[in-house]
Each structure stands twice: as C-alpha cells, then as structure tokens.
C-alpha cells in the first residue's frame, strides 16, 4: 500500500529530519540542565528567524513523515483501508501540522512586535 511516491516522501523527510533530530537532542541535553522555564525557552527562540526555520521545517517534515508512518501502521495492524485510510492519513497530517505550526509560532514570533 506504499507506492513509490509515498515511499520517497517518507525517505526524503527522514533525511531532512536526521540533522534536525540530532540538533534537537543536542538542544535538549543543553537546555534540560538546571530545569526548564518558559523564559529560558523564549530567550532562546523568541524573534529568531533561525529557530523559526529550524523548527518550522521540522514540523513540516514530521507532519508528512508521521502521517505516512501511521498510515502504514493503521493499514497493516488495524486493517484500515480505502476511504477511511485516506481520511485518517490526512487527519493525522492536519493535526500534526496544525498543532506544530501553532507551537513554532508560539515560541518564535507570537507576541513579538506587538
């Protein structure tokens, strides 16, 4: 049920995310020391074009990658098929992208320049 197109999207987003995940884990290891606060997070990311691009591309990639992955699982393990499978896949994509975009905006440019 994975054809060439979905397969390539899955692999391409995986390649894109490899350095992003490594970067994210590095930031986590750095930032978690001494506890996390909102101010600490925002001090790093607020108003930053670089972090916007970093996490923005991460959200785009993971929305595609995660929705294709869940598509395969729901088909192989839960027997979802046809129309229902299509709806489910797009719903997962919309959820991840929607919430992800909101999160990226919240920590970068929300409340800046107001």
């Amino acid at each position: 049920m994975l054809d060439l197109r979905l397969y390539m999207l899955q692999r391409l987003t995986a390649l894109i995310m490899a350095p992003l995940v490594i970067g994210h884990i590095a930031v986590m290891i750095y930032a978690v020391q001494g506890g996390l606060t909102v101010d600490e997070i925002l001090a790093r990311t607020q108003g930053s074009v670089a972090w916007f691009l970093f996490y923005g591309s991460f959200v785009v990639a993971v929305s595609i990658h995660g929705s294709i992955g869940l598509r395969v699982i729901s088909f192989e393990w839960f027997g979802l098929n046809g129309r229902a499978l299509q709806l489910f896949s797009w719903a997962v994509f919309a959820l991840l992208f929607g919430l992800g975009a909101k999160a990226v905006y919240a920590v970068t440019f929300a409340g800046v320049g107001l």
Binding site: M1, L2, D3, L4, L6, Y7, M8, F75, E76, W77
Partner: protein, 246 residues
C-alpha cells in the same frame, strides 16, 4: 525392521493440522521417536500407518525441490531437511500448512496466489532477441550477471512468503520470492521489459512495502537474500523516478 524393535517403546506426540472445508484444527498422533528422522518422515508415518486421509506434499525428499515446505513449531521449513531431534521440544512437535496461503486440505496449500504475484511482479523473462540474432555476450565476471546469479537459485518453495509479516498484513504485497526474481531479471541485460517491471515493482503491492524484517533471509533454505534484492529494486525505482523527472 531392527530399528523398529529398538525404538518401539519410545513415542512422541505430533500435532498435525487437519482441515477439510471450514473445520481446521490440530489433531494429535503418537508416532515412534526414532533417533534419526525428519519431520517429513513423521508426517509420512502418520499417513501410512495411522490415518491414510492425511494430505501433504513432497517430491524429492532430499532438499532440492521445496515441495515439502510446512510450518514446523511455528517456523516455515522444508520438512525433509528438518531433523526432529533439532526441533522437538518436550517430546512435542507441531506441523501446520505454510502460513499466508489458502489451505486446500490438511498440510497442502494453494500455491496459486504465490504464482499469480510472481507474474504480477513481472518476475518473468521478456525476450528481446530471436534465434536469428547473435547471442548476448555476457561474461561471468560482469557485475550485473553476478547480481543476477546471486538471486537466481529460487525454487519457489514459498518458505520466505510464509515467513513474511508484510505478506500476512498486506494482501496485495507481491512478497519476497517474486520480488527477488524480479531483481534477478533487472540485472539480465537480455531482458526487454525493464520499464514494465519497474512500474510493477513500484506499484501498490511492490517493493516499497518491505520493512526489511529479513525473515525471508532468516528462513530461505537456499540462503538467498530477498531483502537485498528488494533494496536493489528500491534503488532502481528511485533512479527511474529521477530519470523521468529530467
């Protein structure tokens, strides 16, 4: 005859799948526990001495034809090449028909879906020459020929097909054997059907469904590597995609 007297007091229980219509279940049989016997020997003993209605397949009985493939204690194996002593646990043995195939009767499965997928995956040779053309000049050390030869010893026993969980969960998936042969033909420069083949293996039931669990590699009695072949198909279809978009 002497053998039978020696071991007549020792028996073991073998559970064999019986099915004739909708009534599939395991039935137990007591068989002699001989020092040196294969699972095929045990199945044959049951049919010859206990229950003549048991249906099963075999042919060469020496590990060359692949006809006797069955599930032995949950793993797909050639029964003629499986020593009972190596797989028996607590004097118990369980023999069932190959997984992922419809059952005709008892231990005999319907191989039609397996071969239909073989054809659908274009694992068939497309000739490009006639008898009037010169023979293709292929040297044994040609890398493509080596790749083709490494994948070519498949005898269609369906053990890999039975081992594969993607085959189980995806009815459209061609499976390791068909895709392995397709890869072998991708490397055959005499074949004229590469476009059709790549389209087939890049389709809904094609190579991109493989999750590289490598159960096929684990169980192939001829030590073939369908996962390697399928990875090759993934590369070829990817290359074709970029060639097309030029």
């Amino acid at each position: 005859m002497a053998n039978e007297t020696q071991t007549m007091t020792q028996t073991m229980t073998v559970s064999i799948w019986r099915e004739n219509g909708d009534d599939g279940r395991f039935e137990k049989y007591e068989v002699p526990a001989r020092e040196n016997q294969t699972v095929l020997d045990v199945v044959a003993y049951v049919q010859q001495h206990i229950d003549p209605t048991l249906s099963y397949r075999f042919a060469c009985r020496v590990g060359m034809c692949g006809s006797c493939a069955m599930m032995v204690n949950g793993s797909p194996r050639w029964t003629c090449r499986t020593h009972v002593s190596k797989v028996v646990a607590d004097d118990q043995l369980e023999v069932a028909p190959l997984r992922n195939l419809p059952v005709i009767k008892d231990l005999a499965t319907d191989m039609d879906p397996f071969f239909e997928k073989w054809v659908a995956a274009e694992a068939v040779f497309h000739p490009s020459k006639t008898r009037h053309d010169p023979m293709a000049a292929i040297t044994p050390d040609d890398p493509m020929r080596i790749a083709a030869s490494e994948a070519i010893e498949c005898i269609n026993c369906a053990v890999c097909y039975a081992a594969c969980d993607v085959v189980e969960s995806n009815p459209d998936y061609f499976g390791p054997a068909a895709l392995n042969r397709s890869w072998s033909l991708v490397n055959d420069i005499r074949d004229d059907g590469q476009d059709v083949r790549l389209a087939a293996v890049g389709s809904n039931g094609g190579c991109h469904n493989c999750h590289s669990q490598q159960g096929c590699v684990q169980y192939c009695p001829n030590e073939l590597n369908p996962t390697l072949s399928i990875a090759g198909l993934k590369r070829e279809t990817t290359k074709a995609l970029f060639r097309r978009s030029r």
